[in-house]
């Protein structure tokens, strides 16, 4: 029986973790993700979970401790945001390349500077090439659901890669929304026990984790890592299918909203997709064929599926909540355009950087984007393909 609740996104992730009851949770606080370990620490103090909670001295340490715990054979995770994620940069790569399953709950916040505590995706987008699987949420329900699915994906024998579950700082992490929770037993049964084949605390088989790989072996290690990321696509869908059967909430690589017959499409990640859906609802009433592709899985990048979903649109705006300072646009823009090119799509495409440092996105803003797409489709001229939205000047 599902339970109806009202929770903030941080609470929702913490509740999911209480139901999962992981073995080890090292954490260091940073806004806006602090509440996840804070709520969880209260569960530990009240004896509601068996987890070893380790208050560490930095994010470099929290990720390193999670890695050590995973290598030892434990189910481990940590949580962070922004500068905290940046500070765990080095161990992020170690988790992925040593093929250690673990979860990082990211609450997206702008990287400094200027120093800012509000939402954009510059932190996790900066870590996009670290080898982590990345799942993004539009709202609190999706943050909860992604957390419940994350360990199953991470620990799958064909994957064995760490997973980042991301949600938008303050917008979903602190806003309280209605949410439907699974029963504790349902989550427990769904996630199951973690039984690694090899682990450091196994006295029957001594193991070396992270041995030096000379030039003769490094590239083979990376090739195998790439294969694991390829395998992750099927595993993500398998886990989502099973989760859908359990919860009635269905997930894939992305959500299509009125995309089937859309002439003008927006591609974006995160909470602003909710705003865009309102815009689309208004436009559809006026007969405008507007649609949305809201990406859930950024790593592995579902290029073929995105191109297939966009094959009939006339113009598309790819919205990035992070700039890559390539003078071309953001990371999502680059990868979606690359996917479209490889499928020989003819649609005009522009890349819009928006919402940096928590800059608000309104229904009217997105209406302007669709109006611009209509102009582009009519003239066949995309104009500047690297633009900013919602900035003065």
């Amino acid at each position: 029986m599902a339970k109806r609740e009202r929770l903030s996104g941080n609470e929702a992730v913490a509740i999911a973790l209480k139901q999962i009851n992981p073995d080890v949770f090292p954490a260091f606080p940073i806004t806006p993700s602090t509440e996840i370990p804070q709520y969880f620490a209260s569960f530990v103090a009240n004896g509601l979970v068996d987890t070893e909670f380790i208050p560490v001295e930095s994010e470099h340490s929290s990720m390193s401790a999670a890695i050590g715990a995973s290598a030892a054979g434990a189910r481990a995770l940590t949580a962070t945001s922004s500068a905290g994620l940046a500070y765990m940069w080095e161990p992020l790569y170690l988790a992925a390349s040593n093929r250690l399953p673990l979860v990082l709950a990211v609450v997206n916040r702008a990287l400094s500077g200027p120093i800012n505590i509000n939402c954009d995706h510059s932190d996790s987008m900066g870590a996009r090439d670290s080898g982590f699987i990345q799942l993004y949420a539009e709202n609190n329900q999706e943050a909860y659901d992604n957390m419940v699915q994350a360990f199953r994906i991470s620990e799958h024998k064909d994957v064995q890669l760490p997973v980042m579950i991301c949600q938008d700082g303050f917008i979903t992490s602190h806003a309280v929304e209605n949410i439907t929770l699974l029963e504790d037993k349902e989550v427990k049964d769904f996630v199951g026990e973690y039984e690694p084949e090899n682990y450091l605390l196994n006295p029957a088989c001594p193991t070396a984790v992270g041995p030096y790989s000379v030039t003769d072996y490094y590239m083979e290690a990376k090739r195998a890592q790439a294969e694991a990321m390829k395998n992750a696509k099927d595993v993500i869908l398998e886990v989502a299918k099973e989760f859908g059967d359990l919860s009635g909430r269905n997930y894939g690589f992305f959500e299509s909203y009125h995309l089937e017959d859309a002439e003008y499409a927006v591609v974006m990640i995160g909470s602003a997709a909710g705003t865009t859906k309102d815009t689309i609802d208004q436009l559809r009433k006026q007969g405008v064929k507007a649609g949305l592709l809201k990406l859930r899985v950024f790593r592995p990048f579902p290029a073929e599926e995105i191109a297939e979903a966009l094959k009939n649109v006339k113009a598309v705006a790819i919205m990035d909540r992070a700039d890559s300072f390539s003078n071309q646009g953001g990371p999502l823009g680059a990868e979606v355009m690359s996917a479209m090119y490889r499928k020989h799509l003819q649609a005009e495409a522009i890349n819009i950087v928006y919402g940096l440092g928590g800059r608000d996105v309104t229904v009217e803003d997105m209406g302007e984007v669709f109006a611009e797409l209509a102009r582009i489709a009519k003239t066949g001229e995309a104009g500047d393909t690297y633009r900013f939205m919602g900035v003065r000047g």
Binding site: S97, N98, R99, L100, Q160, E197, N198, C205, P206, T207, A208, V209, G210, P211, S213, D216, Y217, M219, E220, A221, R223, A224, E227
Partner: protein, 115 residues
């Protein structure tokens, strides 16, 4: 499950190597011939060597090994397990050629030689 070390070699395709290059077996550093990294090796002049053992103590890789030599030919009092029973040799499989032994030898008994 322990890994078969014989299957981890330079001709093994990526599919046959272990996940994350982990090694599921104990004491495998002996099998790892770090001596391949160097182009110079110490050579101990056994006539000059006074068996003081300093090279053995300063070697960062435990690559100066002590061999107990046959003392059957020695006679007289004090010819049991004495300093004379020992002989210092270089484990070339694990010596990285740093030269610390040669630098520290008080009797100039160690020369670094090119290979």
């Amino acid at each position: 499950m322990a890994v078969d070390l014989n299957k981890l070699h330079l001709r093994a395709p990526w599919q046959d190597l272990t996940t994350g290059m982990m090694i599921h077996a104990g004491g495998t550093s002996v099998e790892f011939h770090t001596g391949e990294w160097t182009a110079v090796k110490p050579s101990i002049d056994q006539d000059k060597c006074k068996k003081c053992g300093r090279c053995h103590m300063v070697c960062p890789d435990s690559a100066i090994v002590v061999r107990v030599v046959d003392n059957a030919r020695m006679e007289g009092p004090g010819c049991g397990k004495t300093a004379l029973d020992r002989m210092y040799q270089v484990d070339t499989d694990h010596c990285k050629g740093c030269g610390i032994c040669a630098y520290n030898c008080p009797f100039d008994a160690i020369e670094m030689e090119g290979m």
